[in-house]
Amino acid sequence: MDNIILEMRGITKTFPGVKALDNVSFKVREGEIHALVGENGAGKSTLMKVLSGVYPAGTYEGEIHYDGEERRFGTIADSEELGIIIIHQELALVPLLSIAENIFLGNEIASKGVIHWPQTFARTQGLLKKVGLDESPATLITDIGVGKQQLVEIAKALSKKVRLLILDEPTASLNETDSDALLKLLMEFRNQGMTSIIISHKLNEIKKVADQITILRDGGTVETLDCHREDISEDRIIKGMVGRAMEDRYPPREPKIGDTLLEVKNWNVFHQHHRDRQFLHDVSFKVRAGEVVGIAGLMGAGRTETAMSIFGKSWGHKITGEVTMRGQPVDVSTIPRAIKAGLAYVTEDRKQLGLVLISNIMQNTTLANLNAVAGNGVIDERKERKVASDYRSKLRIRSHSIYQEAVNLSGGNQQKVVLSKWLFTNPEVLILDEPTRGIDIGAKYEIYTIINQLAAEGKGILMISSEMPELLGTCDRIYVMNEGRIVAELSKEEASQESIMRAIMRSGEKH
């Protein structure tokens, strides 16, 4: 057990103008699950890229010792040959190829360039069995969910005789059931003697599986914690990550709740693609002024779909139901009309749906309400600059200037730009879909603070989140969704992780 399989010594990696890694040391024992944690930008992914040869030897300083010898990997193929396999956060699967084709892509079972299909399928079947995936090898990647895709990636790694498996945020886009299955699989591999490194933001999961935890901060190693020697609490890990104790992860707030703003009644929506399948059933809810309302639920419960179908019918079809604002029926049939009715929707996918990444902060800020800084279709540059500067300082967007491109901002600052854009449309009700996904703890706190401020200004906030502690920490009231229905409404006092899960489970039994 105390056999060191990997040791990285004094790794320093510089990009033009930035020292991404500064003298990092990292030691992994054979047969353990080693968690690598740290805020965004702490250098976790960079370290793994150094290890796997994405950044070839010579572009960094320091030494890598693997399996008792110093190694200098020039390419990813070099590290893969020794059994170091990395699974990136963005899955590297070809959607329109089958599971079998993906697993053996670049590594085909072939003689003289002709693929041996029967053998390919047989070996795929064996690998799928190992990862517990019950799908035909001929199934296309696009036809299976993200959870199963993740398993295919692991099967692919197994096909390469993996000894050290590196997973970069493997559960970021998985629901709880799939996450649990994945973690269980990792523990099973550990029993078989495989070593894994897991990068994750989900501290509860790390606590569950990790043998050791290494914490990085600002490109340096802070400490390595041994989970068997002492009981490591989440707060203990957070303290290491942010460099100070986080007494309160959620800023305090005195709710002042007013009249009902948004009310949705009997909202029925059919699936966007499978057009005869009803996806949302009689969804009804309301949001009052100054109130933060949460929607909890598992992935696929229909939360995002509810929000998007209300916001200009941008999801689904055959949409029926009633939407009122301050008691008056409003037309939300197109996005411009929904904006006019006082709605704003901050998407869960800020890179694909929230930002024009190649545009700068200013251009993104004014995009949804360009007419407010223009007269007769001509943009008033002074007005636009002022609006963008105001939001930049108000939301504390960290950047060189309002002319910095959105693509160069950190996740938290990108999210603040998206928020700026929607605040500038002056909405009455903001729907925030996973507003803190993929951003670090410090930035999360700032987002919560902004949410509190907005509520204090009398706006209604509808917050969708997969992180239950976040909902419990910020919301005045929580709706629970499951399988396209609202299955419970919990007051702040009633709400707890247990009561939410219970509501989901009980509703599952009924159907």
Binding site: A20, I335, Y345, G354, V356, R385, R398, S399, Q404
Partner: protein
């Protein structure tokens, strides 16, 4: 990693500035070098007044179409049909003018409308039916070419009445002749005065812009660059203006082109429509979710392209004084190449009018220079292809270097 908490702005060195803006300066420098090169190898023919006039007349339609094509490319699309629209509009203008005897002031707007309809016919499929523009306009290219053959019956029609030809071969009359210091040399005073006024205004506007930027704490380009740029552009403009004034003055087409360049520069840099087109090209889904009618925007980009192609079609037809079924073959490629040489991105969201115009001039000067040198069409194509590849490679190379 870029989280710069403070708001201080370090003053970038001139070297940094040059590196960050190498594309824009590079383009201008390339144009100047190409012009000097051909001036040298053609023994000074390139800048002869008559040749400058020819250059303008031969390339105006490429520039005009590049304005519309830039919007299409920035929006994330492509239009392969413009050469065929040129031919079809030329054909129907011939029928209306020559066969039906309609006056030019009726035919010209009617043709612009026809061009708009042709653009709309394609824009509908791209914007509302979500068919890739490459396919729609490839179909359009074939359909419109076929229609041209049908309406012309396979035979050229011409010649055209004089008032229609003014569009392409006319010159601005010299109403300032009495100012000319020596009428033997300077035969057209308007050209000189107009160019002087323009250069003066450009310097004035440039200085004013810098002052406004300074007041708002926006970064200016280093003064050296501003001065050198102004000096080069000013010198070239004055030289060309002088040369033109010793010949027949300003071609009408040059005026049309200049006005359109100004209008489209304004649209792309200052208007809400322009901003939305760039946003749409950068991320269509995010733009749509921001409440912008991206379908309508795409549709109008194609309508606009159709109108500009129709204008170009009339200019070409008037210049050739005959409508032929083969007019405009391959023009789409010159126009698209001009945009890409000018720095537009094939994936949308990036590109400038000034870039596309300079790109068009680079193509034009090369066409013209190589023709004077007597290089055959075979080698001309080969060289133009390599220049396009080199320009785009330069872009990609710079971008990758920037990433480190």
């Amino acid at each position: 990693m870029v989280a710069d908490t403070s708001t201080h702005t370090t003053k970038p060195s001139i070297g940094d500035y040059l590196r960050n803006n190498i594309r824009e300066y590079g383009l201008l420098v390339a144009l100047v070098i190409i012009m000097l090169f051909f001036q040298f190898v053609t023994n000074g023919v390139l800048f002869k007044p008559v040749n400058i006039t020819n250059l303008v007349l031969q390339n105006s339609f490429i520039v005009i179409m590049a304005l519309g094509m830039l919007l299409i490319i920035v929006a994330g699309h492509i239009d392969l049909s413009v050469g065929s629209i040129v031919a079809f509009v030329g054909a129907i203008s011939a029928i209306m003018l020559v066969k039906w005897g309609l006056p030019a002031f009726v035919v010209i707007p009617a043709c612009l409308v026809v061009g708009g309809i042709m653009g709309a016919a394609q824009g509908y499929w791209v914007a509302y039916q979500k068919i890739p523009s490459f396919i729609v306009t490839l179909a359009g290219m074939l359909v419109f070419r076929g229609m041209t053959y049908v309406v012309l019956g396979g035979r050229p029609i011409g010649p055209f009445p004089k008032d229609f030809q003014i569009l392409s071969t006319g010159f601005v009359p010299d109403f300032l002749y009495f100012l000319s210091p020596s009428p033997e040399i300077i035969k057209n005073m308007v050209a000189l005065v107009a160019v002087l006024a323009l250069v003066g205004y450009a310097i004035f506007a440039g200085l004013r812009n810098r002052r406004i930027n300074e007041q708002h704490g926006t970064e200016n380009e280093p003064f050296v660059f501003f001065a050198v740029q102004m000096a080069v552009i000013g010198f070239v403009a004055l030289f060309i203006g002088f040369q033109l004034s010793t010949y027949r003055g300003l071609p009408n087409v040059l005026i049309v082109m200049g006005v359109l360049i100004a209008v489209y520069t304004f649209i792309t840099t200052r208007s809400t429509i322009g901003r939305r087109v760039y946003a749409m090209g950068g991320n269509e889904k995010a733009t749509k979710l921001s409440g912008i009618n991206t379908e309508r925007l795409t549709f109008y980009a194609f309508v606009n392209m159709g109108v500009l192609a129709a204008l170009a079609g009339m200019i070409i037809t008037a210049r050739l004084n005959s409508a032929t079924p083969k007019a405009g073959v391959g023009f789409e490629l010159d126009v698209i190449a001009a945009c890409f040489i000018g720095g537009a991105s094939a994936s949308g969201g990036v590109g400038k009018i000034t870039g596309a115009v300079i790109g068009a001039f680079i193509m034009g000067v090369m066409n013209n220079g190589m023709s004077i040198m007597g290089i055959g069409i075979d080698y001309q194509q080969l060289i133009k292809g390599l220049v396009l590849l080199a320009a785009v490679f330069f872009d990609v190379y710079n971008k990758n270097k920037g990433k480190g």
